[in-house]
Symmetry: C2
Subunit: 333 residues, 2 copies
């Protein structure tokens, strides 16, 4: 019997295990155009927190007592859709469960056989990589020679941003929590990585920008908000561009962000632009060409933090907010 | 003997009279290309506060014990520049003084005779109007049908924004302090004007947006920062554009801004763009054509808050931060 994690109640601040419930799914026959997938990997992403709250956003909130959604890859085991025959490998949005009935509304994509591990389609080759690519190159319009600051640089999206920026000839300053993560970020090609757990961000960023960035930054890729965002405002050079991808620092605490340097938006003519990767689907071909080349050439590394078994999904998700992951957080079924 | 207000000391928070000193200027002969102007009107603007602090910005800070600068209009009384003969009326940047020696570095413009009062060149026809025009139409890319929120809507720039938006077929929600200012903003064509002194901004803006804006705003023209900016984030519709012109709420207090809704940058894909009107000088012709037509057609009203005499300049300036002005703050000599 297929099972799925349901949203039992809406978290008000930090989510906890009590907000989730693993329940059996009713056994339904396939309608025309649908197919059944046995999931092999489930994606675990910070943005899912947003859908647990009942607020207007770019995607509707998860319904209470209904299965949650998210990226997943797996194999078709039964099909009423000729484009997705039994045996095909598929990326789709019916995550948080072991077996899924998938129709067009879940945006399925049949995966080509290009000799990469299946779970990479949830990472650099999928949503994660596309988010990094579009945010850096389309939203922030980062160019060769730019000094790029990236927060959560050892995370899934952040580590992709570091490498895309390096591959495109930019200078990267990362931020991550702890010496081990920072070492990896430098290994990926960052000129410097500040450790936000070792002290306040602003003086560390100022020092790194002095050493590597002519004293300032041209681009900021924001995954966290709060103190990092404020420091980026403080050190932005004229006409700096900020790609606003997420604010994991403030998803859960419900406290206001204290911004001392937001006023530099005006004098430095900073542009802050929020985005969702789906806004840039028209550029998917460009992303796939670049990313495919980098993956083949070994110029795109990844790490994964893997939890095993459907039961571990809430744990894996909660770990994101403790910085428990290096690279992509995944559940293997 | 010509006199000018000098910066005596840098204000650390709210400036006071002790930061300014009125001193005589040395009597210097004109160099080739210079001319002497007897100023008739001095512009009094919030942005001047920025130049009183010793921070990196788009213009260098005022030097201590030197004459301050700002917009001014007057008449040429002596000239060593054939383009600016005696009797010509000139707009230039040597304000804060009664008589000025002007060279090209002070960006002089000879004013055409089009039958408008001289001080209008410091208002809708000058920097103030251009700032409103470029911010609304170029920075925020506001279009016919958009719902535009403007803070400090009874101020010089704000009242111009309200009217430009109305002239271009947009729906305007203003914010101003007190019923009298709000009444004027509505007179200028705003569908609603919230009184920020009467209560918190967010619930008032939500109500106005419900009545006039399909529940949200498409554009925000920010003159104040702080609570207004946060409310605009809360109520921004998808792909809203914010023109970041100034943050008078936070110029002086040195406290961080508390932002609860900055996170909506991501989900609503808000674009915040700081600007200075000089970034858009390439569009001056377009501005002058539109504004000239509106002024001739009576579709551009203005009010002035006028102080008399050079001695009153610091008082006029400090009044900006108490909201003492309706429309443009000016000193008449």
């Amino acid at each position: 019997m297929a099972r799925a994690w349901h949203l039992k109640s809406r978290p008000v601040a930090m989510p906890g295990p009590e907000n989730f419930e693993l329940k059996e799914l009713p056994d339904v026959p396939l309608a025309q155009g649908q197919f059944r997938v046995r999931n092999a990997w489930l994606s675990v992403d910070p943005y899912m927190r947003g859908r647990m709250s009942d607020v207007k956003s770019y995607v509707p909130p998860f319904a209470i007592d209904a299965p949650m959604q998210g990226g997943a890859v797996g194999t078709v085991i039964d099909s009423a859709n000729g484009d997705f025959p039994v045996g095909a490998q598929v990326l789709h949005m019916a995550g948080w469960r072991d077996e899924a009935v998938v129709g067009p509304e879940l945006m399925p994509q049949k995966l080509p056989e290009i000799g990469v591990p299946l779970h990479h389609w949830l990472g650099n080759l999928g949503l994660t990589g596309a988010t990094a690519y579009f945010g850096l190159l389309k939203v922030a319009e980062a160019r060769e020679g730019d000094v790029v600051f990236v927060s959560a640089a050892a995370g899934a999206v952040g580590s992709a941003v570091v490498q895309i920026a390096r591959n495109k000839g930019m200078t990267v300053i990362g931020s991550a929590g702890g010496p081990e993560k920072c070492a990896w970020v430098r290994e990926l090609g960052a000129a410097a990585c500040i450790d936000y757990k070792a002290g306040p961000v602003l003086p560390q960023l100022a020092e790194a920008a002095k050493a590597h960035g002519k004293g300032g930054i041209d681009v900021y890729f924001d995954n966290v908000g709060g103190e990092h965002l404020d420091a980026a405002c403080a050190l932005a050079r004229d006409f700096a561009r900020f790609a606003m991808c997420g604010m994991i620092d403030v998803y859960n605490d419900g406290k206001p962000q204290e911004m001392r340097y937001l006023i530099r938006l005006v004098s430095a003519r900073i542009r802050m632009q929020g985005f969702i990767f789906t806004d840039y689907l028209a550029h998917m071909g460009e992303f796939q060409a670049d990313m495919g080349e980098w993956v083949r050439a070994g110029r795109m590394q990844s790490r994964e933090t893997i939890h095993d078994g459907l039961e571990s999904m809430p744990d894996a998700f909660l770990g994101l907010f403790r910085g428990a992951n290096t690279g992509k957080m995944l559940v293997r079924l």
